[in-house]
Symmetry: C2
Subunit: 455 residues, 2 copies
């Protein structure tokens, strides 16, 4: 193994607490009754750390999916709140990064800047933030609105939210705190900056009452594959996940490389180098000792979702109840992306599926709910290696068909294979999430102002 | 020691991270540079648990106190965010309750209900919530407002905020989750309740995406000593702290008993029993091996605050800059409680001090910043016992002149004395914060509705 070999980054994704699927909780090996028990999460985070993952990545949403009765009766509709979960996990891990989804639509920048900064401090520089704009009217109604704000308004607010949050993180210069007991000087007031941000979206005076995070800023993660999402990622994200993964088979290396280049090519105009952003496509490996066993496992996972729930989930993605249409005929209308106000990424992938194949509704809902790639550890490693070496990925955001077993399998069987090939670290070499990912620690926005002042 | 002996409850308070005083960070034994380091808090929480405290109680505010330059230069103006801190502490403790201050003025009920419910789950039923309405214009300006809302509006919002939060905690009945893998039933939809709350303050549909907390509701704590605060406490609080403590000497047992009875007498009209609320006056013990040593230690603590900072803090409490008045004359005006929109409790105590004694400004700022009672362990225990047995307290919220040393002293010297007297537990007998405090687990608001339906 060459020391110069570029190494892949790996995230361990928890979408639903029991695994990637809405029905992962039904898997015979899942610990469905443990989903509010800290020991369940502790085992998973410690296993991911044993597997030297760059980060544990926890998804979130701000509502119970009760649009359809199946959502309450059959899906996994409870989940711990991310900050509360991640900081508890910080106390029982020492190296792995800890990232979570936090909405910019239904939060205040001061609170989020403060929580992320605190998590970064308490974890010794291991915090990451998956910046999302939320997706549903149900969420809006938990926060005083009738309807989810429009896509472009949400993205405008998201961009500004991140800017305000970064401004708050820069409130205290890295060397502002003195702790000089003899002189009674806690801090140097000339190294404290008040933001005074005012716009239609936010009025935030600052400063933040938490010192600058160990990482400067926690790592900024972004998922969107929409045009606005790609642009936001190129402008400010440090990790992008999901493209080329969410539905159906893993996609082709060529698709992956096209998307990879599309996003990275946009970075120059924001003055950013291609290395400042890591693209980690999502992959859901279903691992078997033989290819046959892996395929049986994939089938078993796909069978977990009851028909009604699968159809309701498709209705949700389409933003229209399709349960009364004949199951064995195609959708009787063409979904329109224009003006659609839930996840455009999900709808785009459905449109791509329909363009390529004439699927009936029954086939479509099954395809939408089947995301795994089945294979032996060697076959899985082959695919990851191919994508990585072709320049279609800087690493992967790994999803699991059920937890904790799916993660155990990956750590015990695939990680050693990647390590043998020299593609993946044998151990952590740094302390922070930025260290793991090879990302620079950002300077404060006031850094140059200061050095000018000092001259 | 009789088994029937009523036992006192103890909270371990952290106002500033380094201790109770704005200058505690300067104490020779304080760990000022550790204030964003998790190990500092871990040691303190574990020490409090070793001392069998009912709870670790963490105060909070949502701004940097930069109204005066001394606030930035000389005071301890950074602090970890409470949820992030408490849930990390939940992972390294097993019995002690974990409570924090969370503002109802600058938060959304859905987020707070969710975070507290998650903390309660991950800690196995140890969460507590100190309900406050915040105090300053500086906080308002971090959340899109120019001025802090008026006292009565804040209390109206606070009452409603708690009601909405409790409604969200009741979203799922205690037995709503089925985890029935064979039938595919995750939950019983008839046991999920949607709040549909709408008012001028909040529109919150619900339900909450976290199951009902282990304690039913986390323990509700309240500090206010204003009329509105006492009424809110009598109506809904389960722990009241602070009255009779915040300034100057500990106050008389008679004062304490009058306040105790005043609050408890108001409970009947809300259909509550006196045992449903525990009143824990604040006490700041300065412990010495001899009385003389204790007094020397108290003087040393009081000397930590520089004059300018002490005066600025008094200006803050008065809501008016008094730094240009002659220091050795009395305040040239009488502060008015009417229309005052910061902490009425603080101003009330200043008015009480001025009524009793003709203090100069210099004397006043020193008295305001001197809160400790100095004594040997036996003397401290005598005072706590006297208050407890006289019916002026159900226990105490213990504050510390510096951390972690002040807590170490209390746990090593005063706790054993209280235990010898049979006034305090030798070990935890229950698992949850409610168990420690002897508080009932509240039923869901839907509990009776259901049992009627079932008949």
């Amino acid at each position: 193994m060459s020391k110069k070999q570029r190494q892949m980054a790996l995230g361990a994704m928890m979408y639903f607490p029991a695994g990637e699927h809405i029905s992962s909780w039904r898997h015979p090996e899942s610990d469905a009754a443990g989903l509010m028990d800290f020991n369940y999460y502790k085992h998973i985070a410690q296993t991911a750390e044993r597997g030297k993952f760059d980060m544990f990545f926890y998804a979130d949403e701000l509502y119970v999916w009760d649009r359809f009765e199946s959502g309450v009766a059959q899906s996994n509709s409870i989940r711990p709140e991310p900050f509360t979960l991640l900081s508890a996990l910080a106390a029982v891990t020492s190296r792995i990064g800890l990232a979570a989804t936090v909405s910019t639509t239904y939060n205040e920048p001061y609170h989020i800047a403060r929580k992320l900064a605190t998590l970064d401090h308490l974890s010794g520089g291991r915090a990451g933030w998956n910046i999302v704009t939320s997706q549903t009217d149900e969420e809006a109604r938990n926060f005083g609105l009738e309807q989810h704000p429009q896509h472009k308004d949400r993205y405008g607010r998201a961009r500004e939210f991140v800017d305000v949050t970064q401004g708050l993180w820069d409130s205290w210069d890295d060397d502002a705190l003195l702790f000089d007991k003899a002189r009674g000087n806690f801090a140097d007031p000339s190294k404290l900056h008040t933001l005074h941000h005012k716009s239609a979206n936010f009025a935030v005076r600052g400063p933040l009452n938490v010192s600058r995070p160990p990482q400067g800023y926690p790592v900024l993660i972004q998922a969107g594959a929409s045009e606005a999402g790609k642009e936001l990622a190129a402008a400010s994200a440090e990790v992008v996940f999901a493209p080329g993964s969410a539905f159906g088979p893993f996609g082709t290396v060529e698709d992956g490389k096209a998307l990879y280049d599309d996003i990275k090519d946009r970075m120059a105009k924001y003055g950013r180098s291609r290395d400042d952003l890591k693209i980690l496509p999502g992959v859901l490996p279903i691992i078997g000792r033989t290819e046959e066993e892996a395929k049986e496992r994939l089938d078993a996972v796909n069978e977990l979702t009851p028909e009604r729930l699968g159809l309701d989930l498709l209705s949700h993605y389409l933003g229209r109840d399709i349960s009364n249409y004949p199951l064995d005929e195609p959708l009787p209308y063409v979904p329109q992306l224009e003006g659609f106000n839930q996840s455009k990424s999900n709808l785009t992938r459905i449109l791509q599926l329909l363009e390529r194949e004439a699927l009936t509704i029954r086939q479509l809902y099954k395809r939408v709910n089947s995301r795994g790639i089945a294979g032996t550890p060697t076959q899985i490693a082959d695919q990851l290696e191919a994508w990585f070496l072709a320049g279609a990925a800087d690493g992967f955001n790994v999803m699991f068909p059920h937890l904790p077993g799916g993660l155990d399998d990956f750590v015990d069987l695939v990680v050693p294979e990647l390590q043998r090939r020299g593609l993946y670290r044998l151990d952590y070499t740094g302390a922070t999430l930025r260290d793991h990912l090879g990302l620079k620690r950002p300077e404060s926005r006031y850094a140059n102002v200061q050095s000018q002042t000092k001259r």
